[in-house]
């Protein structure tokens, strides 16, 4: 008996000790209390309608009121601790995913290739207990209805292109959206050969909508607008007279052929333009009218049962691994399909107003117009002030055993606070559970135990003007700008910036950036292949920044030695560039170099960046012939800062890109396409790159390499994902990255990190950032105090986050 008592006492002590320990750690997986997560936003959401949302502000609410078919989750070790960097994909609102491509292979209705065996058609089986927050059942038909509305041509929803313009291309989605509309498009979309095209009376010579026209306007839009695209062509070297080129516009190939003057002008344009066979087609366009069509022709429909949803795609997507388990793409590309509540959506349709033909919707823009099928539902919303979400008791997930210890948060309150200082005071009073660390408090708080540093895929760069004509046009007496056209001068600028100091001075927590991609960019997601960690990517940085790999024991050491800062070499390059310019007469011995720094706002942060870069540039010319002759000036270009830079209005800006972190090959588009790149005058369709692929050496323009890498229709090769080994693609990405970095129009400075302070009230499941799960989100958030306890704690204690 005594022995038993001892065991009981020992057990009680052990349980008590563990209990108090766990309480010390702040984990209280207890759902009895009220656990409110208090957060804030600078911009209140306004339109959390999945069909038409436009920015991240709107996704704040969307992420709580929707569910996923397939979702990322932590991979836990045997002790229940998340394994760093690992993930698994699990079923959520769906219970089964089947690849049914073979059933539709060769089916003309859906244009699935006859030889296709996988990736084109899927059957998704939904859970039977899916419900809206009011208890209405959700079936597969609701998803079909929603997709019909998503692609409704009357609305032209902002997110419609998610289902025809990206990697998830639902069969006929584009045709359904565009039905009835007329578009003018390049003749090469209609004909493969010029011999065939020149017989077509529908083709018209076009300096606006043809491929050449798009190129022309993309690069010389302002000049084309002012003096006409024909004038621009003559300035670029086309030998035909402007009037003769203008006379070609609107003429068919036959009309041109029949008129000697037109034919001569046409031949001159072709001589100027053509570098590839059949490129005559790219000078013509035709008007295409999308025919009316029924939604039954679109590749989404229900199965025999209420919960069976079928999807037929134009491009294959490997949502399943060979063993039948879910691939990462299931959670990435097919996490869910949009879903609206039919009766509410219909009630919130708004007919076009006078002078407009566009239908709009107020669905999901207020409490009354919002329906939830996710873990939380919207309970209050005051625009520009606050919104509140509470548990949606009809969510299927609360009945699942695996969620027993998740979703401790019972309420989410998000205030709109536009002023950071106000948010900071609120955080210190315990009214907010986290806050971004502003640069003004960074030095005091960045070592706090509550500081969280989150990497992201944004790479901030200094962009240097590439348009020599624009630089020349802005030169004045005694002022030189064209020295920026010398790659040595641009390289000198790159080497003159101490990226480490730059980030410490100008950012809260960002780290020096050297390449177009950072540690968040995966070239092989399934196997955890981070681009920047690969040898070939490290070599790119070493070569671009002049680090001799042979002097280091390993490529890792060499890459670690890259600082991007070499003032001595920068001075030497400045001197070389200057001397050559002086000899060539493009700069005078008395000229000043004035570099104009443009921004989107004139505020403390942009001034800090300007001051730092000014200091670096002025230091760069000390000891060179340009000493004391380099000046900088600041210009605020407002919301059009990027467009102004692209059109050559100023010399330097800081700007970068973020997105497609798991597809760096695709994301190269940002640095290569005139539609997006900052250095629009850099002709990526003419710059040649030689690289070896699968043992064979190819020389192509950068754009052609890009097209091959992404399997763009009409490209010479298809080296898209799934077509060749990831290692092959890795090599191509690295070669293109090196080429882009080597011209120094884009000079990476910063790998973006955000820093935040977390209150003592709640905590994440893990402080290790996981690309797939971040810190676990609201799902895994745990609380050390319930609301009443926290209020009491804040009343009696001063919250100190410096430790």
């Amino acid at each position: 008996m005594k022995k038993t008592l001892k065991y009981v006492l020992a057990s009680a002590i052990l349980v008590g000790t563990l209990g108090s320990l766990s309480s010390c750690k702040g984990y209280k997986r207890d759902f009895s209390g009220k656990y409110t997560y208090n957060t804030y936003t600078e911009v209140s959401p306004s339109n959390w309608n999945e069909l038409s949302y436009q920015d991240n502000n709107d996704t704040q609410i969307m992420s709580y009121i929707g569910s996923s078919f397939f979702q990322f989750d932590y991979k836990f070790d045997k002790d229940g601790v998340p394994v760093p960097g690992q993930f698994e994909v699990t079923y959520g609102a769906a219970t089964k995913l089947e690849d049914v491509t073979e059933e539709y292979a060769g089916d003309e209705k859906y244009s699935v290739p006859a030889e296709a065996t996988n990736g084109y058609a899927y059957k998704i089986t939904l859970r039977n207990d899916l419900k809206w927050d009011d208890g209405t059942a959700i079936t597969a038909d609701d998803f079909v209805y929603t997709m019909k509305e998503q692609l409704n041509p009357l609305f032209k929803h902002y997110r419609a292109d998610s289902y025809y313009n990206g990697s998830t291309v639902i069969h006929n989605a584009r045709n359904y959206v565009y039905q009835g509309s007329k578009v003018t498009q390049g003749a090469e979309l209609k004909h493969k050969t010029w011999a065939e095209g020149k017989q077509d009376p529908a083709l018209k010579f076009d300096l606006t909508n043809s491929s050449m026209g798009s190129w022309l306007w993309g690069k010389y839009g302002d000049a084309a607008k002012a003096k006409g695209p024909a004038w621009v062509l003559t300035q670029l070297g086309c030998t035909a007279a402007q009037a003769d080129i203008e006379a070609l516009v609107g003429k068919t190939p036959a009309e041109i052929e029949a008129n000697a003057t037109l034919k001569a002008a046409f031949d001159a344009v072709v001589t100027f333009w053509k570098s590839e066979p059949e490129e005559e087609l790219t000078l013509f366009s035709y008007e295409h009218e999308y025919p009316a069509m029924d939604f039954s022709a679109v590749g989404i429909f229900t199965g025999a049962k209420d919960n069976e949803l079928y999807l037929v795609l134009d491009n294959p997507l490997e949502l399943l691994k060979e063993d039948g388990s879910l691939s990462y793409k299931a959670a990435y590309n097919m996490s869910s399909l949009p879903l609206v509540k039919k009766d509410l959506f219909e009630a919130n349709k708004v007919a076009p107003v006078e002078g407009s033909k566009l239908w709009t919707s107020t669905y999901n823009s207020s409490v009354a117009s919002t329906a939830s099928w996710g873990p939380y539902k919207l309970s209050t919303f005051q625009s520009g002030k606050e919104y509140t979400l509470e548990r949606n008791t009809n969510w299927y997930g609360y009945g699942l055993k695996e969620n027993d210890k998740k979703y401790q948060t019972s309420r989410i309150v998000c205030k709109t606070i536009k002023e950071w200082n106000t948010a900071w005071l609120a955080f210190q009073k315990g009214e907010l559970d986290s806050i971004g660390i502003d640069v003004s408090i960074a030095s005091e708080y960045k070592n706090s135990s509550q500081a969280i540093f989150t990497p992201d895929d944004y790479v901030g760069s200094m962009q240097i003007q590439s348009d020599a004509n624009a630089l020349k046009a802005r030169e004045k007496e005694g002022v030189n700008k064209t020295i920026l056209t010398d790659v040595r001068f641009r390289k000198a600028i790159s080497l003159a910036v101490d990226r480490d100091e730059y980030n410490r001075t100008c950012t809260t927590s960002s780290k020096p950036g050297f390449g177009l991609f950072n540690s968040m960019h995966y070239y092989d997601v399934e196997n955890g292949g981070v681009y920047r960690n690969e040898e070939v990517a490290k070599k790119v940085l070493c070569e671009v920044y002049g680090v001799d790999v042979t002097k280091y024991a390993s490529i890792d050491e060499a890459a670690a030695a890259v600082t991007g800062y070499d003032p001595a070499q920068a001075k030497q390059l400045v001197t070389e560039a200057y001397n050559e310019a002086l000899t060539a007469g493009t700069i005078k011995a008395t000229d000043k170099v004035v570099i104009t720094f443009g921004t989107g706002a004139d505020n403390e942060a942009t001034r800090r960046v300007f001051d730092y870069l000014s200091k670096a540039l002025k230091a760069m010319v000390v000891g060179t012939p340009l000493e004391g002759r380099l000046e900088t000036e600041f210009e605020d270009h407002g919301s059009k800062w990027a467009d102004d830079f692209r059109s050559g209005a100023y010399d330097i800006c800081t700007g970068g890109w973020q997105g497609a972190a798991w597809d760096p090959g695709y994301f190269l588009l940002a640095y290569l396409s005139p539609d997006y790149m900052y250095s629009t005058a850099w002709e990526t369709d003419k710059v040649q790159l030689t690289h070896t692929v699968l043992g064979e050496e190819y020389t192509m323009s950068l754009m052609e390499w890009y097209n091959c890498l992404n399997g763009v229709e009409g490209s010479k090769h298809n080296w898209a994902e799934g077509q060749v080994e990831n290692e092959v693609r890795l090599g191509i990405i690295a070669a293109i990255e090196k080429e882009i970095l080597s011209v120094y129009y884009t000079v990476p400075l910063q790998n973006h990190f955000t820093a935040a302070l977390k209150s003592y009230k709640s905590d994440y499941i893990s402080r290790d950032y996981n690309t797939f799960m971040a810190y676990g989100g609201i799902e895994y958030l745990t609380y050390a105090y319930d609301d009443a306890e926290w209020e009491e704690y804040c009343k009696n204690n001063t919250l100190d986050y410096k430790q």
Binding site: N49, A160, T360, L669
Partner: protein
């Protein structure tokens, strides 16, 4: 009768002025190039098709006619580009956001007008004595300090350190509850500093001048006490320029204060007009332009008429 004719004339001129400014505003905002924001991988054609369907590429006169037709149907349009108000009827947004702005400004005016005038009178009566110097120094300090600093100080001292008030205005629409009133107080206090100082300085200057006038000497020599002369003669004359400035302040009551609303998280209209221009949100811009032009013009008539009420010698429209 001449007053009635004068008012009619002013109203006619007001309508004409309104139409001219309305037309200029519409044409100018429509002359700005249409910005098509396309992210990587997005279908630019559909974005442009949306703008075309909204009629943004129609000739400006056609757009103007359509806009006027819409206004006559009571439809001011919906937000398109302003991130916080996309797809929301612009009039509804404005009406929803106007009460907090008006209340804060009205409370501030009610608080600052009597206090400012009282301080001004006191300073004028104690001219060149230590009380006057003290008030004048205070006035100079608070007029010189930007409102952003005053607002932060109020927030830090009264809300954060002393815990007298919440840091931000309460959420919800119960604008007349005690708790809401308390939460508005920091903004009201921060807003009042400038107004109090303005009225105090203005009143002091006007009253000082009047107090040294010959008619005041005459009033005193006729046997009136200093208080009687000040109250019945000096103050009445000094109020002629002061009162219209109070009326004028009501115009700003409707436009709000960008800085104060930002700091105290007031869901008001401050900044809405500026944002509508920055984001090129046509419907917001035009609705707000119409509203503020009308209010401004109406206020100018009221101010002009108010001179006659304060000083019967001033006859509007009389020859």
């Amino acid at each position: 009768m001449y007053m009635f004719k004068y008012i009619l004339k002013r109203l006619g001129l007001m309508i004409m002025t309104f139409l001219i400014i309305f037309l200029i505003s519409f044409v100018l905002i429509k002359l700005l190039p249409i910005v098509v924001n396309v992210t990587i991988g997005q279908d630019k054609e559909i974005i442009e098709a949306t703008l075309r369907a909204r009629g943004y590429y129609d000739p400006i006169p056609v757009q103007l006619v359509n806009y006027i037709k819409r206004i006559f149907h009571g439809d001011f349009g919906v937000g398109v580009n302003l991130p916080e108000y996309r797809n929301k009827p612009v009039w509804d947004v404005f009406v929803e956001k106007l009460p907090p702005t008006v209340l804060i400004n009205v409370y501030s005016t009610l608080f600052s007008v009597p206090l400012g005038i009282a301080l001004g009178i006191f300073a004028a009566l104690k001219k060149n004595r230590w009380q006057d110097h003290l008030i004048s120094t205070g006035v100079m300090i608070f007029i010189s300090v930007p409102s952003i600093v005053t607002a932060f100080l109020v927030q830090y001292i009264f809300c954060f350190k002393l815990n007298w008030f919440p840091l931000m205005m309460n959420s919800g629409f119960d604008y007349f509850s005690g708790s809401m009133f308390r939460s508005m107080m920091p903004a009201v206090i921060a807003m009042s500093f400038g107004s109090i100082c303005g009225y105090a300085r203005f009143t002091r200057a006007e009253l000082t001048e009047v107090l040294t006038s010959d008619f005041m000497l005459l009033a005193r020599t006729k046997g009136l006490t200093r208080g009687q002369a000040t109250l019945h003669h000096a103050l009445k004359n000094a109020m002629v320029p002061i009162f219209p400035s109070i009326v004028g302040e009501f115009v700003s009551v409707l436009s709000g204060s960008l800085i104060i609303e930002k700091i105290f998280s007031i869901p008001g209209v401050g900044g809405l007009y500026l944002d509508s221009i920055n984001y090129q949100d046509y419907d917001f811009f035009m609705m707000l332009s119409c509203f503020y032009i009308l209010i401004g013009l109406a206020a100018s008539i009221v101010i002009d008429l108010s001179y006659g009420f304060i000083d019967p010698r001033i006859r509007m429209g009389a020859k």
